[in-house]
Symmetry: C2
Subunit: 206 residues, 2 copies
Amino acid sequence: MNSIDLSLYLVTDNSDNVEKFLNTIEEAIKGGVTVVQIREKTADTLDFYNLALKVKEITAKYNVPLIINDRVDIALAIDADGVHVGQSDMPCDVTRKLIGQNKILGVSAATINEAKKAESDGADYIGTGAVFPTATKDDAPSVTKEELIQIVDSIDIPVVAIGGINLDNANQLTDTGIAGLSVVSAIMSSDNPKKSSEELLNIFNS
Amino acid sequence: MNSIDLSLYLVTDNSDNVEKFLNTIEEAIKGGVTVVQIREKTADTLDFYNLALKVKEITAKYNVPLIINDRVDIALAIDADGVHVGQSDMPCDVTRKLIGQNKILGVSAATINEAKKAESDGADYIGTGAVFPTATKDDAPSVTKEELIQIVDSIDIPVVAIGGINLDNANQLTDTGIAGLSVVSAIMSSDNPKKSSEELLNIFNS
């Protein structure tokens, strides 16, 4: 199993303004983000590839792992550190075969069954949510704190919570056994992504 | 260079009705289609993967090469015979590295420069069009018969023509030096895909 510091896990959103996008990621890393996932659901493959190369320059500079959402081809093409797949992406076991044993494999799982299957199919960690209401991914299933704890307890691999996590509610999750907080808007839409990252990391570590 | 019979090259469209979609492909192969490309621009990765597995059962049964449009990850996951990339997909040279030397690599090229670059970057064949007006891909550049001949003459790898080719106009392309006709609607939307394929192949071979 590949080990990774999941404490503060940034998932990106809209990259229309590439310069601002890259700057936000760099500031977030300076603020303590421990892993970056690029999530692009509408971009052409070439645009996604070029964007991922640019993000990799930043993550490599700070030695932070870079994960690609869904697209195993992009991950292989830019030699990312790993891939994150959802329940409507490439099956976990197939993904593991494509990326080999040395790349990180994350899987979105909203139930104990999904989490156990991902673990047995080769996942290194699980992303579970949405733990709070979120506008970023409006089709995400909702997961209660109770359910989150049950998922954490049902598997041996680490779990990150995702979905609507921000500075106001993050402290509600610190006693759940999760390995980290995964956020999108709380950092990507922040006026001060470095400070927001510092504060989120402080909440998680406290 | 990987050799492939490009004489009648079927590119698929909308697969909402999977049963009809698969049946059309099988009838088209019975009618003489020599290569099948799956093109899915909106499907979830899991749906694309599952669809590609089903198409592969058919193409394997008839020993017809199966090419995946754009998605190198899907091609690798189902062990397709090759990949076709456009100018806004993964770069040709990167794609070649990902798929290795033994899989077929096709590239869409609408100019001599694009065709020459694809050839030097590892393409096995070129797809050029749109040679006629087409509703399938309304953002495709238009390529005149003159330009098509110039592209064929500028490179050593084979060229298939694509875009709006049907039973009424296919004969206009037989003296251009192309290696095949690539069609979507003329077969996928045909009431009798087997007969349409037979007729298109007859036109090309005459």
